[in-house]
Amino acid sequence: MSSDEGRMTIVCWSGEMDKVWPQYILATTGAAYGMHVTMFCTFWGLFPLKRPDVKITGDNWMTKMMGAMTNNRLSHLNFGGVGPKMMRAVADKHKVAPPDELIGTAKELGVKLAPCQMTMDLMGLTREDLVDGIEEPLGAAAAMAEMKRSSINLFI
C-alpha cells in the first residue's frame, strides 16, 4: 500500500453542522485512500477547531457583533437548536459518527487541520483558543500552494 496516493485539499468555509459533517466525512475517506489531506479552515469553518469553552468576544464592535451572531449557531437548519438536535438524533439512529467524532478520527489519520490566520484575527482568536493537534495558522498563499499540488480540491 503506497503511503502517497496523492493530495486533497478541502477549504472548510462553513461552520454549519450540515456542512461540517461532509467536510470531515470526505477528509477521513481521503485519508483512508492514503491521500495526504489538508483542511484549510477559514471563516465559519474555523469554528470546529475552537476550544468549546472559548466564546468569540472580539476586541472591537465588529468582532463583538460577529461573536454575538455566531456563537452556538450550528446550522441554517437551526430553528432554535432543534435542527442540529434532530440531525444528531437521526445520525445516532443510523449509527453515523457525529462531526466531533469524525474530527478526532481525521486527526488520528493524519489529516492536517490548518487554521486560517486572517479568520483568527477577524474573530479575535489566538492559537491558545484553538484545540491541540492542529497545524500552525496559515494564509491563503500557503493554502493555495497546497491546492496547486492537490488532485482533489473542495470548497465546502
Binding site: M1, E5, T28, T29, A31, A32, K95, V96, A97, T105
Partner: protein, 76 residues
C-alpha cells in the same frame, strides 16, 4: 480457503467508518496478509471494491450473508 490474518467487525458503523477502520487495520498488517471485513453498511458493497481497486489492495472475496457484507482484502 484463504487464511484470514485478522477480522475487523465494522457491524453497525456507517459511512465512512468501515473504510476508515479498514485502512487502519491494513496499516497494522504485513504485505500478503488477509483482512476479513464484516460490515452492515449497505454502501460498503460498492465502497469496498472501489477502495480496494484504487488503493491496489486485492479484494479476494466479497459476499452477502444475512444482511452482513463480508470481504476478504489482501494487503498489497
Amino acid at each position: 480457503m484463504t487464511a484470514v490474518t485478522k477480522t475487523l467487525d465494522a457491524s453497525g458503523l456507517a459511512c465512512p467508518m468501515p473504510i476508515v477502520r479498514t485502512r487502519q487495520a491494513l496499516d497494522g498488517l504485513a504485505t500478503g496478509d488477509v483482512l476479513e471485513l464484516i460490515s452492515t453498511d449497505r454502501g460498503s458493497w460498492r465502497d469496498v471494491p472501489a477502495w480496494a481497486e484504487s488503493t491496489g489492495n486485492p479484494l479476494l472475496e466479497s459476499r452477502e450473508e444475512d444482511g452482513r457484507f463480508i470481504f476478504l482484502i489482501q494487503k498489497a
